[in-house]
Amino acid sequence: MSLKIQIIVAVVIVLALAGIANMVRKEALDLKFALSWLAVGVIVLILDIFPGIMNYLVSLLGIELPVNMMFFFGFCFTLLLVFTLTVKVSKQAEQLKRLTQTIALLEENIRKGAEVKSKDE
């Protein structure tokens, strides 16, 4: 990997990390969800600055090209993340359903109460 590319990658990642941190600061992103992204950024940054680690891991796992390892782990991470989100969406759909039902029933209750009251008067 040429020094030029190393520097470009490092700059991009530092910018991305700063961007994520800023979003957390402005409360546009929950720290809980930002954590995994911050972790990925830091890991890639470390691998970028110390290419030796990457070469060591590649030989350890018997992968021929370092870039293949990046693709492989990147893909695994993305799958995991998407799946986690699917689980999250399912849970939120259930919560949203409950909220909707509760609001609808409360609203009916209030309307009924108002009708009874107007009849009494």
Partner: protein, 229 residues
């Protein structure tokens, strides 16, 4: 004994008046509640004009969430019996008393109005009948119980099942799955022969394109429900 008719309604502006009239004149012992599932047509306006009793969902939940709202209402308001009843004129209220009698006298947990015992009235198209027969077979396989009309939306349940459905009810295509769930929980389900009408208003929620997805999804749901405890 408090009895409630749950009418899930999504874009039923054309059929809802007739449905309520049918219940008021042919099943006067029953209260009713319309669950307006955020209809985009004039359903709500029609209900308000007539002073119908309606619960308005602020967000569209689909048939499962809508019907469940009805069960929640029944649970919270102390109803002993609740029955689902379509808002499009497919179901006939004259069977409701008979269904309630059967539920009480035979100590059942659910009575389903079935088109396929006497095979009278509207019988649905050939392909749909085939699909329904397939579900009958599948449900028999996993529960040992023969339900001739597992997709029937006309079903009456007692207080136990009202509470159960208020807690858990499938979100989409709920009919076959919800029967399997309560059968697996040792509840007693029987059917009563009824006649249904061809849909007069609105369109079926299951278009031909969706039917393949429907078959796969419901089959899986039945199998999962069979293994859930």
């Amino acid at each position: 004994m408090k009895k409630l008719v749950i009418i899930p309604a999504y874009n039923e502006e054309g059929g809802i008046e007739k449905t309520v009239q049918d219940i008021l004149s042919n099943a006067p012992d029953f209260d009713y509640v319309i669950i307006n599932d955020c209809s985009t047509d004039q359903t709500l306006a029609v209900c308000e004009k007539n002073g119908f009793h309606v619960v308005n969902l602020p967000v569209n939940l689909g048939i499962g969430g809508g019907v469940q709202t009805g069960y929640l209402y029944a649970w919270q308001n102390g109803y002993d019996i609740a029955v689902q009843f379509d808002g499009d004129g497919q179901h006939n209220a004259r069977y409701l008393d008979e269904m309630a009698d059967k539920l009480i006298n035979e100590h059942l947990d659910m009575v389903i109005g079935s088109r396929y015992i006497k095979k009278e009235g509207f019988q649905s198209s050939g392909l749909r009948r085939f699909g329904i027969r397939y579900f009958t077979g599948l449900i028999r396989l996993v529960t040992g119980k023969k339900i001739t009309d597992p997709t029937s939306g006309m079903r009456m349940v007692g207080r136990d099942v009202i509470g159960f459905y208020a807690k858990n009810y499938p979100k989409d295509y709920p009919e076959p799955e919800s029967v399997v769930t309560i059968l697996k929980n040792g509840k007693k389900v029987e059917e009563l022969p009824v006649q249904m009408n061809a849909r007069e208003e609105g369109v079926s929620s299951i278009s031909p394109r969706k039917s393949v997805y429907y078959m796969i999804k419901v089959s899986l749901a039945i199998l999962i429900a069979a293994f859930r405890r």
